[in-house]
């Protein structure tokens, strides 16, 4: 449990931030955390690149703005509800996020869309120029449960997607 961090602070310029959001004690709610952790284990070369930073956070709420501050690109990985098949991977841009959120929403209090909307209004220059949301359709959010098999099965593909985005951003750097 102590390996989580939300290390907001001075970032090197051009930082790519990968932010996994979710609760580790609540079933598929942990999908975002698990996917980012799997990506870290699979693509270990990224662990030593100073301009690639990882944040694993449970309930950031409005604190998400602090996590995003200073990053050039942010990739948010989170559990979502949209009524799609459990384990479905949703790849969204920020523009799509608001539309998505009208019908569904991530499972976290001050929703990602709501928080970003506030940030874009108040501190547009401090937020990343590009934001990618990878959503994983959640099934059960039961306290104390593990990930469902469907979400577990989807994780390698989510890790591959994260790596694909990170590689592309590094190429553009």
């Amino acid at each position: 449990m102590n390996n989580l961090s939300d290390g907001a602070g001075d970032e090197p310029s051009g930082t790519i931030k990968i932010i996994g959001i979710g609760q580790s004690l609540r079933g598929d709610d942990a999908a975002g955390l698990a996917a980012v952790q799997l990506w870290q284990q699979t693509y270990q070369v990224r662990n030593v690149q100073p301009n690639v930073q990882v944040e694993l956070t449970e309930l950031p709420g409005i604190g998400l703005l602090s996590l995003l501050e200073g990053a050039k690109v942010a990739i948010l990985v989170d559990a979502v509800y949209s009524g799609a098949r459990v384990g479905t991977i949703h790849e969204l841009t920020e523009n799509q996020l608001e539309v998505f959120n009208n019908e569904a929403g991530t499972a976290h209090g001050w929703g990602v869309a709501e928080t970003l909307s506030l940030g874009r209004k108040l501190m547009p220059s401090a937020l990343p120029g590009k934001l990618i949301l990878i959503g994983i359709e959640a099934g059960q959010l039961t306290l104390g449960e593990m990930l469902s098999l469907e979400v577990e099965t989807a994780l390698p593909e989510v890790a591959r997607l994260i790596e694909q985005h990170v590689s592309m951003e590094l190429l553009h750097d």
Partner: protein
């Protein structure tokens, strides 16, 4: 209002809430407030776990007040294991609690309840018209989070607190570096108290029994004796004898009441009304400058109480940060022994009680967590009944909003997502 109202629960994490109001022959027939409470799950989840894991696990109950859950749990476990913390540890825990009050109160005042009282749907719509106000709120909240992170290791769920003290002392220069921002926050809080007087509070006063911790030597937040506005004083170890919880069929949550079967009210109004004289002088002055008359019996004016506590918390944080000079080990070694212990502290939302039984191997054999929202639950329902006659003739949407505003004034666990809730009106 001519139809039933149903505000459904949505997927969320701090707790799930639903409110249903049913009409019969044009009058309110039934009010059902249902709040799902994660703490009850955590009581079972803690069973069989090692005592030192408890502060980390309980911090996950609430994203807004993790420190409160840690502070009540470590005190209960230290009592069970007969550990006495050092004065430096207590001071640092007080500073950590200040951080939580700053971030939690800033959030509730400006981003949750504030928009209701200035007639905005949410903080986002408020930000469009009053960006500086919302920026101030975010800066205040960030100062709390930064302090929390410096002491606790993380800004959302702190991990540095342990039974017996802290895993490590935070660096002195890191704490001192926060003082200029805390000084800005203190002035911003004084301005917040003034701003709070400009809001439109509904005219709604009730005769409450207020319950809060109290101490002779300070404004009680970290620990204290349990006192009531009716004069009763209760030591923490007797809490469960005087404040009972009963299961209510229609609700997942337990309802708290006094042993005389009365409802009671915990939170900032209770603290301010019972402990005003123990506030830091600068906070008392801020209250005096706006002509504050106590006791406050209007739940919407909990916002004013929070604003006054914000001044107190910033001022105390500055003093504690300036004096921070820890000596010796940051935690006490613990000898395992079976025992039972109680811990009570004042979460931003009100009194938070923990009780644990630990066995000879340091494993948890029993956990009881009574959160403030559960204690206010019956009072919230009573207030909804009291409000109902005044709103029953309003248009449907307006009536729904009135009920929502009242609930939000309590800052219940559901409040962090209440703006996220979408209203559905049953058409039967």
């Amino acid at each position: 209002m001519n139809q039933d109202i149903h505000i459904p629960a949505l997927a969320r994490v701090e707790g799930e809430g639903a409110l249903t109001i049913r009409l019969k022959d044009g009058a309110i027939n039934e009010i059902l407030l249902n709040i799902y409470e994660p703490p009850r799950f955590f009581e079972g989840f803690l069973h069989g776990r090692y005592f030192q894991d408890v502060p980390d696990i309980t911090a996950r109950i609430c994203g807004i007040c993790p420190v409160a859950y840690q502070m009540s749990s470590v005190q209960a476990l230290e009592a069970a294991l007969q550990v006495t913390i050092t004065p430096d540890v207590r001071l640092l825990r007080q500073l950590l609690y200040c951080a939580e009050y700053i971030e939690s109160h800033a959030l509730h005042i400006y981003l949750l309840q504030g928009p209701d009282l200035v007639g905005y749907e949410s903080a986002i719509s408020l930000a469009a018209d009053a960006p500086d106000l919302v920026k101030k709120a975010l800066r205040l909240k960030k100062i709390g989070n930064d302090l929390l992170k410096t002491i606790g290791g993380r800004s959302v769920h702190p991990v540095n607190t342990c039974v017996g003290g802290f895993y490590r002392w935070p660096a002195q220069d890191a704490i001192h570096a926060l003082i200029p921002e805390l000084e800005w926050a203190r002035q911003a809080s004084i301005d917040t108290v003034k701003w709070a007087t400009t809001l439109n509070y509904p005219d709604f006063e009730q005769d409450y029994e207020f319950i809060a911790l109290s101490r002779l030597d300070e404004y009680a937040i970290y620990d204290g004796y349990i006192v009531s506005s009716n004069g009763k004083r209760t030591p923490p170890e007797e809490f469960e004898k005087h404040y009972l919880e009963t299961h209510v069929e229609r609700s997942n949550a337990l309802h708290s009441h006094t042993v005389d079967n009365g409802t009671y009210f915990v939170g900032p109004l209770a603290r301010l009304n019972l402990n005003y004289k123990k506030l830091r002088p600068i906070a008392r002055q801020a209250a005096k400058d706006i002509g504050l008359k106590l006791p406050l019996r209007n739940p919407y004016k909990g916002l004013i109480a929070r604003a006054v506590e914000l001044v107190h918390s910033c001022d105390l944080a500055i003093e504690l940060a300036n004096d921070y000079q820890p000596q010796g080990p940051s935690f006490k070694e613990i000898k395992l022994r079976p025992g039972e212990g109680y811990g009570v502290s004042e979460a931003p939302r009100g009194l938070l009680y923990h009780r644990y039984v630990v066995d000879e191997q340091g494993l948890i054999r029993f956990a009881r967590i009574t959160p403030p929202t559960a204690q206010n639950f019956a009072q919230m329902e009573a207030d909804l009944w009291a409000l109902a006659p005044t709103v029953v003739n309003l248009p449907q949407e307006e009536a729904s909003l009135s009920f929502e505003h009242l609930l939000r004034s309590y800052d219940p666990c559901i409040s962090c997502a209440t703006h996220f809730l979408k209203l559905r009106i049953d058409r039967e």
